[in-house]
């Protein structure tokens, strides 16, 4: 079902709040992986407010859908989303990165409610997602596993080992996203270690590829619903995004892979976020 205009407006409001939260936490924490957190906002908001079968009041609900944020460094975008969704008090995030805080830049699932799997080391998420998907199948359960990859981490061989396994075992209860923001720490992905022809790689590993605008709710939503109905092969949604999306001075600037904000820049960021119309 296509999203209604009202739904899209609500999602835009959630995304705006999340972007404000991301820059706030970047300020409180003294620095964060802001760029890659901003690029995945529409993907994550759409999943957490529309598609995931979850219940924040019952976070261990056995039939919940699982989500693995394989690009774990984007925890600064994940933690506030979970807080706003009702898993824990947002005020706790004021201690992000601080001594004894449950929230470090890469979220620990043993400490943070709502995080199914601890991530942070790149190239690990898809393997664990395949394991979860096969586990659901062994147990005869119908919940789905969603995995959000960064594009840079697809340099890791283990991602392709996992892709091979997902395809070999026909893990159609797994839906994979690539947040294709085209930047990694040392520069553009195609300069550091080229990924193109990227979608061809996924296809040749046996995936059905859906390439979409990763900031368009309509496009993402259509791709997710098609992926949910796919029975022949696992699906990867190649979401073309902009690193730093929503804060123009951060967009496509590799320095914002990890950056810090002073109070003036924080205020400016929030004004820019409020002004932008994304989705």
């Amino acid at each position: 079902m296509p999203l209604t205009g009202q739904e899209i407006n609500e999602l835009k409001g959630r995304a705006k709040q999340l972007r404000r939260d991301i820059v706030d936490i970047t300020f409180w924490a003294g620095g964060a992986h802001t760029g890659g957190a901003l690029s995945m906002v529409e993907i994550m908001v759409l999943l957490y407010y529309k598609y995931l079968n979850i219940d924040p009041k019952n976070p261990q609900k056995p039939d919940r859908d699982r989500l693995i944020l394989s690009k774990g460094h984007a925890g600064v975008g994940f933690a506030p989303l979970l807080a706003r969704r009702g898993y824990f008090d947002f005020e706790l995030l004021k201690d992000f990165n601080k001594f004894k805080s449950p929230f470090g830049m890469h979220l620990d699932g043993t400490k943070v409610t709502g995080v199914d799997v601890s991530t942070g080391s790149l190239g690990h998420g898809l393997s664990m997602a395949v394991g979860l998907a096969l586990g659901a199948r062994v147990k005869g359960e119908s919940w789905r596993t969603y995995c959000v990859l960064g594009d840079g981490e697809c340099n890791e061989g283990s991602v392709w080992e996992a892709a091979m396994a997902a395809s070999h075992y026909g893990a159609t209860n797994l839906i994979t996203f690539v947040d294709r923001n085209r930047f990694m720490v040392d520069g553009p992905t195609e300069k550091v270690m080229g990924l193109e022809p990227f979608t061809d790689k996924w296809r040749s590993f046996g995936f059905v590829v859906k390439e979409v605008d990763g900031h368009s709710y309509a496009a993402l939503s259509a791709a997710i619903e098609e992926a949910q109905g796919e029975t022949g092969a696992p699906v990867v949604i190649m979401a073309n995004t902009v690193k730093g999306k929503g804060v123009p001075f951060m967009e496509n600037d590799v320095r914002w892979h990890y950056g810090g904000l002073d109070s003036d820049r924080l205020a400016e960021s929030k004004q820019l976020i409020d002004r932008a119309d994304i989705g």
């Binding site: 620990d108 799997v117 664990m128 394991g131 096969l134 586990g135 147990k139 283990s158 396994a165």
Partner: protein, 336 residues
């Protein structure tokens, strides 16, 4: 009989350690529906294939891709299953070390790893297939339990016991052709509790894996030839280490030697040395293992002889340590 075994002792004695593992796991699979198995194109040689044949829907061959296999195991554990993972020790603890550490140990998941071809048990294969670093690596990972069974019967006990031990467990076995030192499994196997195989008052041998049987034979010969009373301890669990049995040996025998099919750095010898040093008591102490080198190639029995890990080598080392002037007084001013 070991709890995991219901066939007779004769069968257990004619089966290799890995065959015992395969059979026990298959039987446990019938008792526990949540057990799943994984291997990386080594289902046959690690014998997890016995489980795979019996429960094909609960077994996943990852192909030759160990990193993904251990990640998948973490995911399966997160789904509420109990994965048993088997491949060679060298690929488990080094090729996939970070997945074992970050995906499994960090999340404290119920993944049971039965790693084969530990030490130089696959001697003829050469250094690429030896693994004399795994105990050191595994015991440095928080949450991990590390077990090195002495033989097939103890392997059966360990595999069964690891099911009720929460969190990750690493069980290191050899290639599987090692003779048994136990004739029965009913000796009260308990993870973290070492077994005294032979009483003794002059010196204590602390062993794990293949060296246990060799030490038992050496102790018997030393008693007959020299009248020496040698205590033999089977330290089947390296982590958590049974420190009490070491402290008791320090007080009662004042001399300890460790023997292991592992680099002398970081393994059983180092673990025991930590207890000895922290005890604050004087104790003659020596470690025998692979002397910080990549092993020669050869059949394991020749290599164990070369590195002093067989009964003859153990006897020689015992005589050397007993023959040394061992100072128990407080003459610290003597210097080195």
């Amino acid at each position: 009989m070991a709890e995991g075994l219901t066939w007779n002792v004769y069968d257990a004695n004619t089966m290799t350690q890995v065959e015992v593992y395969g059979e026990v796991l298959a039987r446990l699979g019938a008792e526990h529906e949540n057990i799943v198995g994984l291997s990386a194109d080594l289902a046959k040689s690690t014998k997890i294939g016995v489980f795979a044949d019996r429960f094909p829907g609960r077994f996943f061959n990852a192909g030759i891709a160990e990193q993904n296999m251990f990640g998948m195991a973490a995911g399966l554990a997160k789904a509420g299953l109990m994965p048993f993972v088997s491949t060679m020790a060298v690929f488990t603890t080094m090729r996939a070390a970070e997945q074992v550490r970050t995906d499994i140990c960090y999340q404290n998941l119920d993944v049971k790893i039965i790693a084969t071809h530990g030490g130089i048990s696959f001697g003829q294969a050469g250094t690429t297939h030896h693994c004399t670093e795994d105990i050191a690596i595994m015991r440095a990972m928080a949450n991990m339990t590390v077990i090195v069974p002495a033989d097939g019967i103890e392997c059966a006990n360990a595999v069964r016991a690891c099911i009720s031990r929460p969190g990750p467990v690493y069980i290191r076995i050899g290639r599987g052709f090692e003779p048994n030192c136990y004739t029965s499994g009913d000796y009260g196997f308990e993870i973290g509790k070492a077994v005294e195989m032979n009483p003794g008052t002059d010196l204590t041998l602390v062993c794990c894996g293949i060296t246990v049987l060799q030490a038992m034979e050496a102790a018997k010969m030393l008693k007959e030839a020299d009248g020496t009373s040698v205590r033999v301890i089977n330290m089947h669990t390296i982590k958590p280490l049974d420190a009490d049995i070491i402290r008791k040996a320090i007080v009662e025998t004042r001399r300890i030697i460790t023997f292991e099919d592992h680099n002398v750095y970081g393994g059983l010898g180092s673990a025991v040395a930590e207890v000895v040093a922290e005890s604050g008591r004087a104790c003659a102490f020596a470690r025998v293992g692979i002397p910080d080198c990549y092993s020669l190639v050869g059949y394991p029995e020749d290599l164990y002889c070369h590195y002093g890990l067989d009964a003859d080598g153990i006897m020689a080392k015992v005589r050397e340590v007993l023959g040394k002037d061992f100072e128990q007084d407080e003459s610290w001013e003597d210097g080195f």
